[in-house]
């Protein structure tokens, strides 16, 4: 989303739309989003996702020439075929075919749909884990809601997740153990995104409540993993760290009510000593950089 907003690259928008379509098609449950989809099916690792050339030709039909030009089968030693991967960057492939990137991506979308329809009708889908964990649900809900003005997809499904949130957050959307920092922070960001996109004041009030709870995790060293923990998770490895999420949420709430603040000394401590290198603190660095340049508030 941010890559597209800053670059205008149609490949970034295509990636965003493909991801959203996948989540909404394959991961949506009655209340929220499933946790995972297995890699193996019918006892075979990767079985649902790999292709053999002969089968690919049959599934492609009259599109075979294009499929053969743009995709390659990338195999693994223990797999019978390979997974489909583009041979090159989309812009280079488009140039090679004499098309502009937009037309190429539209054409590619149609081909992918043809192959997906064939695959889904000839194979058994892998097992899906429908456990509704709070953290991944809130992360994807936030992403979908933020992208909605651009994509027009999934707002109703994402708001169902936010609709399950209360002031006290659990590990699972519908009950379970007391939430950790990652649960509260992701819940706050999902709720704030709902407020920003819909303008509905009930999401602002929910955000303020969640922010109040989140502040109880804040210690002089940063936000602790749980209320009674001393651990301060600050590293983005590989996901944005719970402290980065919490900081972003609290800084945004501070634009609504000034009781939401993180002391400067704490910001310094959250950056640690960079012993793993700045990329592992990218989220916190980005937020602190924004405070230096000035946070933006549009009313």
């Amino acid at each position: 989303m941010n890559a597209y907003l800053t670059s205008g690259d149609p490949q970034a928008l295509d990636a965003l739309e493909l991801t959203l379509e996948f989540v909404l098609r394959e991961m949506t449950t009655e209340v929220g989003f499933a946790s995972s989809v297995d890699a193996d099916s019918e006892g075979e690792e990767g079985g649902f996702y790999v292709w053999e050339k002969k089968e690919l030709m049959e599934a492609s039909g009259k599109e075979w020439d294009l499929v053969n030009k743009v995709f390659q089968l990338v195999g693994e030693a223990n797999l019978p075929g390979g997974v489909l991967r583009l041979r090159d960057d989309s812009s280079d492939l488009a140039k090679h075919l004499g098309l502009d990137v937009g037309s190429f991506l539209t054409h590619l979308r149609r081909v992918r749909e043809t192959l997906r329809t064939y695959r889904d009708s000839t194979r058994k889908k892998p097992f899906r884990d429908d456990n509704l964990y709070t953290y991944p649900n809130c992360r994807i809900a936030e992403g979908i809601i933020r992208a909605f003005p651009l994509t027009g997809m999934g707002l109703k499904e994402a708001l169902r997740v936010v609709g399950e949130l209360r002031r006290r957050v659990s590990r699972r959307l519908q009950g379970g153990g007391e939430g950790l920092l990652e649960d509260y922070a992701s819940a706050l960001l999902a709720s704030l995104s709902a407020y920003e996109v819909t303008g509905d004041l009930k999401y602002r009030d929910l955000s303020l409540s969640l922010g109040g709870e989140l502040m109880s995790f804040l210690k002089p060293e940063g936000f602790t993993d749980s209320r009674d923990s001393r651990e301060v998770p600050v590293m983005d490895t590989p996901n944005e760290s719970p402290n980065s999420l919490a900081l972003r949420g609290i800084l945004k709430l501070g634009l609504i009510e000034d009781r939401f603040k993180v002391p400067e000394e704490t910001l310094g401590k959250m950056l640690g000593d960079y012993y793993q290198g700045p990329p592992f603190y990218a989220g916190i660095i980005s937020s602190i950089g924004a405070t230096q340049r000035g946070l933006a508030h549009v009313v």
Binding site: T6, P149, I256, T291, V299
Partner: protein
């Protein structure tokens, strides 16, 4: 932005949401909800007519804006 129900607020809102800034909060306030907003917002929105947006970066806020392009410009510039 302040939504006066004149149709312009949708355009202003979309522009505000889809202009990148590393840390930004967008609030859309229906004019009939003006008494429900925080004191900071309430003090800001009493000036101006029609749907409009106020763009603040750091401690500096713009005059009320009614052109979507202005929102983009102000969010991208160092100081409005």
């Amino acid at each position: 932005m302040i939504d006066e129900g004149d149709g312009l607020a949708d355009k202003l809102h979309r522009e505000a949401l889809l202009t990148y800034h590393p840390l930004k909060l967008v609030e859309r306030v229906r004019i009939e909800d003006r008494d429900l907003v925080t004191p900071l917002v309430r003090s800001m929105i009493k000036y101006g007519n029609g749907s409009r947006a106020y763009i603040c970066v750091g401690n500096t806020c713009s005059l009320p804006q009614s052109e979507p392009d202005k929102i983009k410009l102000l969010l991208k510039s160092p100081s409005p």
